[in-house]
Amino acid sequence: MNKSVWVILILLVLLVGGGWLIFNKDDSSGAKATGPIEIGFIGPLTGDAASLGAPSKAAVEVAVDEVNAAGGVGGRQLHVTYEDGQCNAQAATNAASKLINQGGVVAIIGGLCSTETAAFGPMAMQANIPVISYGSSAPSLSQMGALFSRDYPSDAGQGTFGAEYMYNALGARKVAVIYHISDYGTGIKNVFIERFKELGGEIVAEEGAEQTATDYRTQLTKIKAAKPDYIYSPLYPAGATAMFKQAKEMNIATKFLGGDALSDTKLQADVKSLGLNIMFTQIKSDIPAEFNSKIAAKTGGTQVPVYSATAYDVVYLLSNALKTADSGQALGTAIRATNYDGVSGHIQFDQNGDVAGSGYTVYKFENGSATLVE
């Protein structure tokens, strides 16, 4: 008897409490029109590309503070919820579902890794929430849909540029490829190989590894035996650290050309002592020095990856779009209509939500950081 009384009491409390919560929530959503505009952010705050994600988050924070200090959008402040996509599909999907279902966001800034964006993108599209990526470059993302845009150019261009640079500027004829099996690695590798063969070059080895792999020895053994002029290595930073270390241990003296993910400053510092010859391609951008020092002051670091600039610009182009549309399809259309000069360059989207980009440049690892080659 006593027990059932307690059970009923607890149920009552839960019912009343729950009812109050729901009622209360209704109240707050009514007040939302004047409250802050909720925006989500997804990026690799931990995991394989954390050292690229953290400065991007810092750049978004800086931009949001600036927009809010200048009065916000139509009198409303921007409020960003930051979620960790960990550069993997599962975490990015969880992050997005939290933002969409609990956060009530009108748009998502992110992700950085193509793996993240490819995973949570369709879910956001279904929920009618525009997504603007500041770093995902997989060519396949161009087919995401009308609500997707990115101010970071597709790798269709980067792979082609890499192949042409290899063949023409570096004079490589026999190239080995080691890549991560992911939206990023596989995407850029396919474009590279196609263009390199078209130019008349030969691919002497093509070795993939899972993004989480830490043992690249067998792949490197095969690559070493194939005696390439150059090794093309579109890898994410964590795997690249292990791969470079093992390449050094196996006495591989061949030079490397990687993709933009190698712009990771932690990676550059970690492999400094190996003394390998490593270069990577990156989008060309004249990012103002004052912007970089602003972000560096926020992160406490010295180097600012290019994703900080693109992430910073996303906040501004999103707040411009929010001036004309609140959410959903209208906001997507307003974003696509962007015509804006940001710190990363001129931003205008084509029918796939891609930016033309201003071409690519090549950097070289030197003394724990990277210097411009040309």
Partner: protein, 288 residues
């Protein structure tokens, strides 16, 4: 020739690490009689404790190893004492223990990720300074040579201890039949605790080896565990030497697989072999 030598060396190194994992796993499995997934997490704990005491606190190498291995062993003992033992004394089925051990894996892995972030870390203090030896055109690093010898030493010691000491005989008795062992006066509970300590400590050595050889991430435990478990199953679960043989066999198959096909097929080849072995030899190649 060069290629074959290098592939062989790669296989031997990978095999040594799998063998260590398989050793600890087998030891725990044959006494406690359940599939301990949490064991993978203890390898990670070993690696990360080493990271903390060796790289952060900068203690001397030998002391750091002892601390890391002891800590992981002690944690293994504590987990057995406060999670698995209460479950076993309530006559929980091996499935319940398996599920509990998945819980242990998740909790430990998440804790490590919170404490150390999930970024990739390597244990070497100076990455470029490793000495490299050349053997018939293939290369092997100093670290890998050490790993190989440590693994062989642990294997032989464990083999000898199990065969010739009173402790070893008691463990084998528990493995055969815990109830009978207890009736004849073997303190099985206390011994199972010790087995968890030793097994976890061996796992920790594997975790530390991986940390020096390639690098650590909190999630590396499950991959390590899978390698060790496949090795143990191929070799015959519960058979210490079978597990070691299975480990080297698995490593050779993986590496030759990557050589013949290409890198992305590594785990596909490994698991295909596992399925084949199970189909034709359900109790492993070297039945107990």
């Amino acid at each position: 020739m060069e290629l074959a030598v290098q592939i062989g060396l790669n296989a031997v190194i990978a095999g040594a690490i799998y063998a260590l994992v398989a050793l600890g796993f087998n030891l725990i499995y044959s006494t406690a009689r359940f599939f301990d997934v949490g064991y993978g997490a203890l390898a990670v704990v070993g690696g990360y404790t080493m990271l903390y005491v060796y790289k952060t606190l900068e203690l001397p190498f030998a002391l750091a190893i002892v601390l890391a291995v002891t800590f992981a062993g002690a944690l293994g003992w504590v987990i057995e004492r406060f999670v698995y033992r209460p479950l076993r004394s309530q006559k929980a089925s091996p499935t319940v223990l398996l599920v509990a051990s998945i819980g242990v894996l998740t909790v430990v892995q998440a804790t490590v990720a919170i404490l150390f972030t999930s970024e990739f870390k390597t244990l070497s203090r100076d990455v470029g300074a490793t000495r490299v030896f050349e053997i018939f055109g293939g290369v092997i690093t100093e670290v890998q040579v050490i790993i190989l010898f440590v693994a062989l030493a642990i294997m032989s010691t464990l083999g000898l201890v199990l065969k010739y000491t009173l402790f070893g005989k008691a463990i084998r008795a528990i493995a055969d039949d815990e109830e009978v062992a207890r009736i004849v006066g073997i303190p099985s509970r206390r011994l199972i605790g010790i087995v968890f300590f030793i097994g976890s400590a061996i796992g920790a050595v594997a975790g530390i080896a991986v940390g020096f050889d390639t690098g650590l991430q909190p999630t590396v435990g499950l991959a390590l565990l899978l390698g060790g478990v496949i090795a143990a199953i191929i070799g015959g679960v519960g058979n210490i030497w079978g597990g070691v043989a299975g480990a080297f066999l698995l490593a050779i198959i993986e590496n030759v697989g990557v050589w013949t096909f290409s890198g992305e097929w590594k785990s596909t080849v490994a698991f295909a072999v596992l399925i084949l072995v199970l189909l034709f030899k359900p109790r492993g190649l070297f039945e107990k």
